[in-house]
Subunit: 109 residues, 2 copies
DNA sequence: AAGTTATATAACCATTAAGTTATATATTAA
DNA sequence: TTAATATATAACTTAATGGTTATATAACTT
């Protein structure tokens, strides 16, 4: 099985995170996406190509438009792997933190 | 409240991820850490300084040694924020994926 | 006091990253 | 067929990254 896209790289840039976030809600054309940013069309194009190459985003052509959508399966799997890797470093801490937050909430009620 | 360290940046580099992983298990001196890698001491020093600046790692001086440990609280909080941000994009997908995996396990038993 | 070990710092280098502007190409609309 | 729109690509700039080597400083060991 081919090792999944580099999610760490994908998430490292805020533009890419915002694109992923947009696509998680809906399919968008490239020009739609461009409108959501203050940067140029070629800049967005580059980031889309990166996300495409990593496999997190799917492109489909229709006329002069390119529709982009989140490749949820690929992204979800990479995400899970990341959680497994990073979350493991924090296992007990997260349990503790959860208790702490929960108790805090109780106190606040 | 000061916004938490940039976990996306911290995780973007494999050397930093490995350092964090080491420190999640135990405190280490810098030279201990250096031994775990094939790169130079100054290179490790740099990465440690980045992790320190982001607040994910704590340094304590003792003689000529520097002891490094994971700042678990800071890291856990940043991690949780990341999970909230990124996980939200995948909510339903993750539920589906879980069902899929669970059913698969059942079938395999 | 001299040598060794741990860490820090400076100067440097190559690569990558993330954007820009200008322009080309493809498709649709008038 | 001309104009407008959507996307792609090329060439460039600037800055950040992640390493290197050489050397300095600090602390311990003999």
């Amino acid at each position: 099985m081919r090792t999944s896209g580099n999610i760490y790289r994908a998430l490292a840039d805020p533009t890419r995170r915002k694109i992923l976030n947009l696509l998680s809600k809906d399919e968008h054309t490239q020009s739609d996406i461009v409108k959501e940013f203050d940067i140029s069309q070629p800049a967005i194009n580059k980031q889309l190509n990166i996300l495409k190459k990593e496999g997190f985003v799917h492109e489909s052509k229709s006329g002069r438009y390119r529709f982009y959508s989140l490749n949820t399966k690929v992204f979800a799997v990479a995400y899970q792997q990341m959680i497994d890797e990073i979350g493991a470093m924090l296992d007990q801490t997260l349990v503790d933190l959860k208790h702490y937050v929960e108790n805090k909430e109780e106190d606040d009620d």
